[in-house]
Subunit: 219 residues, 2 copies
DNA sequence: CGAAGTTAGTGTCTTTTCTACACTATGTCA
DNA sequence: TGACATAGTGTAGAAAAGACACTAACTTCG
């Protein structure tokens, strides 16, 4: 093995985003052990020696949410010597986007898990608050030049729903006609011809993502 | 300390860019020890247990180039279990931009160091070629929406020199008048009123970066 | 001393993109 | 059938981006 002094704990932490109730929410896990016992923290943990970083993040996401195959991207690595009181632990942070549809059990009934709104986070363990903020900024920036927001949509969705996702992440209202003009021209979105009826008003067209695509840079 | 299985080697590698002879160049170091003895590699090494990642990258940059205080940004972390034959080593990669002026000795006369053109790299150790390519893409992308290219400029520079930097990184020619229109309006650039005389042609205005600014997002 | 060579420097028009803005359509329910 | 709620649509002005060619200032050489 390699020089000592370079031995460290290696962890991944995952900022799992979803959207519910017009709120951008992050999955938090209540810590049982020290340090920060009882605090909320990001799902994560030590990386086994034989596992790739991406695989580890993906696995941790799956273990907490039951979800696989969603959008997952490396965010940043944090390695301040003092960030974990137990010793040197480098955390390679990821962020993931999960359509709310895919969260069957919504962590309700499990008081060790919670989907918390990003604008009202409790005190978090370690530097996790900082990690969440960075992930949120990255996500918001990507709305501008990629179609990443589609990763929050289910099988079929209306344009109003999609607009609401944008507005929720950006924290500001968008012009309806300009939004639709822009989004209707995306090659990766397609009118299904079906209608969505809800409430006492005009039904909305349902769209789908054409190829169950990954995120693309569009600008 | 933390759970075993999670103990790993932690390294940083730095992609140090400069521009010389209309070429985007990367600093390479010849490896002396196994594995990959004799191969060219990125400057880097194990991170001491008490040193922050940024500090370590900055220090390694300084040790190889003698340069301090230049632009340095975390790029990505690489942790494939097989990327280092000695065992699990996670490398947190950085990239740095150095104005050629600041490189007094240009690694000439040191056959263990070389500034190699990105478009003609030798075979590199580990996954370092991949790291260089990622850094180059990131740098090129940032030209579009930030003023990062100014990090390559010395105290004073002409607009033609600046345009050449853009063209070199992007690998394509730019329109002179459109380029100047865009860049003259940047608030962080200022006409010094001085002239640069070279060769048998009209002298060029010299500009400077107004506040010895860090990189800013401009779009 | 002027002609040739070399790089610096400049403006306009067209196309595209972005932004602001308000009304009609279609359903439900009382 | 009228009130209500959300879906859906187009245009005009402003700003940004892109294409494009000539003159200016210096040096050198004949």
């Amino acid at each position: 093995m390699v020089a000592d002094g370079a031995m460290t704990g290696l962890a991944t932490d995952v900022v799992v985003f979803t959207i519910r109730d017009q709120c951008l929410r992050v999955l938090l896990v209540r810590r049982s052990g020290e340090p920060f016992a009882g605090h909320w923290a990001l799902p994560g943990g030590m990386v086994p020696a034989d596992e790739a970083l991406d695989d580890c993040a993906s696995r941790m996401l799956g273990e907490k949410t039951g979800v696989r195959g969603v959008y997952l991207e490396q965010l940043y690595s944090f390695g301040e010597p003092g960030r974990d009181p137990r010793g040197r632990v480098v955390s390679v942070a990821y962020y993931a986007l999960v359509p709310p549809e895919r969260l069957a059990r919504f962590a309700d009934g499990d008081d060790q898990l919670a989907w918390m709104p990003t604008e009202a986070l409790p005190e978090l363990a370690f530097d996790h608050r900082h990690i969440v903020e960075l992930a949120h900024r990255r996500l918001a920036a990507k709305l501008d030049y990629s179609n990443i927001a589609l990763q929050f949509m289910g099988e079929r969705f209306t344009l109003s729903e999609l607009q609401s996702v944008y507005e929720t992440i950006l924290g500001e209202p968008l012009d309806k006609r300009n939004f639709r003009k822009r989004v209707r021209n995306l090659p990766c979105i397609e009118d299904t011809g079906e209608w969505f009826r809800a409430g006492k008003h005009r039904p909305a067209r349902l769209f789908r993502v054409t190829r169950s695509d990954r995120v693309e840079i569009i600008k």
